[in-house]
Chain length 506, copies 2
Amino acid sequence: MSTTATRPALTRLREVLGEVVDLQRAAELLQWDQETYMPPGGVEDRASQLSTLQRLAHERFVSAEVSRLLERAEAEVEGLPYESDEASLVRVTRRDLELAMRVPSDLVAARASAAARAASVWREARAASDWSRFAPELEISVDLSRRLAEAIGYEERPYDALIRMTEPGLTTARVASLFAELKAFLLPLVRRLADLADRVDDRVLDRPCDRDAQLALSLEVIRQLGYDLSRGRQDLSAHPFCASFGPGDVRLTTRPGATLRGAALLASVHEAGHAMYEQGIPRSLDRTPLWGGASPGVHESQSRLWENLVGRARPFWEWCLPRLRAALGETVAGVDVDLFWRALNKVRPTYVRVDADEVTYNLHILLRFEIENELLEGRLRVADVPDAWAARLHEYLALERPTDALGPLQDIHWCSGMGHFVGYTLGNLIAAQLMEAARRDLPDLDRQLAGGAFEGLLGWLRERVHRHGRKFTPDELVQRATGSPIGAGPWIAYVETKVRAVYGLG
Amino acid sequence: MSTTATRPALTRLREVLGEVVDLQRAAELLQWDQETYMPPGGVEDRASQLSTLQRLAHERFVSAEVSRLLERAEAEVEGLPYESDEASLVRVTRRDLELAMRVPSDLVAARASAAARAASVWREARAASDWSRFAPELEISVDLSRRLAEAIGYEERPYDALIRMTEPGLTTARVASLFAELKAFLLPLVRRLADLADRVDDRVLDRPCDRDAQLALSLEVIRQLGYDLSRGRQDLSAHPFCASFGPGDVRLTTRPGATLRGAALLASVHEAGHAMYEQGIPRSLDRTPLWGGASPGVHESQSRLWENLVGRARPFWEWCLPRLRAALGETVAGVDVDLFWRALNKVRPTYVRVDADEVTYNLHILLRFEIENELLEGRLRVADVPDAWAARLHEYLALERPTDALGPLQDIHWCSGMGHFVGYTLGNLIAAQLMEAARRDLPDLDRQLAGGAFEGLLGWLRERVHRHGRKFTPDELVQRATGSPIGAGPWIAYVETKVRAVYGLG
């Protein structure tokens, strides 16, 4: 980003914001370490280090100096184009600062400590499969989310405030209408596919496979996709994630499984999607609020695009199956591309969201979105969550009532408040919409994928998505990249086509 | 540490100091990561993160708030015993703060950036074995060390100021007199042993050995010594080191070699000595300036004690050789304890300090101590360092003139200034002095070591050294632990006895 002597406030603002970013990235490394290499004894020390770093980053950001500099910088960038680095920096910093300043620091601290305590109670409650043990923590969490929403402010519904913090420009009504469209399409589809289960044989996925071979193959594949290992690495953790400490260091973790169904490959591909996004953000935006993904939903669009729209597509497996065979040997003996690809895409309603197939996944999110809103608006009591859960699970996926552990205790997310789930569905929709646009520009994309040539697609994403960092809101970004705001149409069309092919429908 | 409502300034002081410690530990983790897992692309981002963390830690420490609180806390602890946690915290914080406040922040920044640049030039110069390429950087480094000494202040010699920063209570004159004693003992001894080289056969150490087996054995041995792996871990790095992020997380790194001479075991034992020191500091001192080793010299006493006075002692090998045999198999076939122990202790003058045996090691440090003082006092020009080096190497170790790479370019230390080497010799001396005292209290220590029972010795060190953290100066600590201030006598007696046994002298 060019900073000139004619914009002294902007120049100084960038220095202070650079320090805030450094503190945030240091905290991110401490968290990465906690999930990968930290010995068990480090928990207590680490909590205090993280809390200090996060508090100092927050204090530095909401300082009087930043407000003063930002006001002067706003005058300095007047007249510059909306999408310029300078105007975007000032605009996005203002947006972040307004939100950060609305949240009183005692609420920040209360949320952090409640989340830490809730996570530890949640682990026990899940192990005991006992909702009543977690319920008191959720009461607190819901209350803190309500207080957060009040602090942020909203016109229609408390959830609006939570969405505003993560997906700027979107509203609860907008998300609800996307879900309505999905629901109308999905409920009949899921019922229809239940009757056609015999058409797809996915038993190959239950074959055992070697852990080291999985990891070596994962690394080979993500490198080929375009993940730059000179600026990243792959480690192991209980839950795969991506962590980034700057343009030169964006890491991912993965987890090998006992069988092909739980193998590391698609987890690695998913995280590599996140990581390639961050690796594609230009150094010119580094150490500013513009460096990073546009929103959790847009971030998830990159992971889902590579995991599902590439990694579960037939052309990809034309390239990958020989590599899987070389890595796993006997495990995939006698398996051809068609069988493997169809197995990977079989629709099987599951209790657990993270095990869900592409088709049913969004119904898991819808269920959570509805319950969260009802809790926030006082229309559902915490004690009644398991009933509400079971009722929807039956309606959406035709599943019987789950245990608490396989029901509302399956996810850790509610420990740190409401509103984290919608990004997953937004990511699915945006991924399909981006892929549809990419296909228009890259007419032989499938041939490229089948040949292991991923640079065309990655280049398209770099140009349309990655290079903008956090300059644009999700809708602005998607509109620029695809010509339309975020919609459910492309995803529905994609799933329709795929299901027809996988199930051999007319 | 008890903090009571009657000492509000001390209580608040501890909170602020806790934040400083958190920032320092975060920086320490970033450095650990840089040496172990960071991808090459991360260098630039990491430098800026470290500089931000270190600057914020410094600013927070030298803030007006700390000065104000410290002054009030000094009044609050009046009358408390010298060794109490409270009085010590206030006293040591005052000492640290006085030094930190004397160094202007532009000098801190200049030193950091000069050190980073010098390190990169040093790598090139060493690769090219060309002193003249490094000389301009050393000119700057010497100048900055002089400026640092002026800022700190000194009465006799600039080196006094540098020692004051690391080994409080010691002076250049005191260190020089310890070295004089060592020199008088060592020069004739090294000459005598050169004639007796045939008496000790150390060819066993040149046998190749498996890297994974080395690492597994290292881990087994350091765990047995008492290194708590639930609060630590062992990783690999180019240069072994110990890094600590709090009482619950003290890690070490090691490096396997191609042969037994360069095997990981004693490097791991050395670093475990450092790590067990930090693991032995009580939680009551946590997140204060009292948590940590008393000085680099005292820290090195712990690593040297375990590496040399235990790890190169005959009883240790009675316990360890069967384990070495189990781990390495054929590599040590036909080797008995006596042969192996004598091989490990053979005195062989080397060009490279880190390869030196126990006897010649201190002469490497003496050489550096003398050259550093001459540079600082303007009695030696940077261009003449290789000559001065060669002359001393010949006088002390009877070695011919080395290449620049094997001579004054072998160590990275001068990139970040002068005064870092004396801690190594102080560590050797203190280690022998502590061991002599421990033997008085643990009369059957050798039998314990031969049986793999290390908890007696570790317990003694915990009680006499570790539990005090940074409460005492090196001399105070050694006086309390052994009954005498730091001296060369115990080390000389130890070496005399050992050499006699290894070389079978009368």
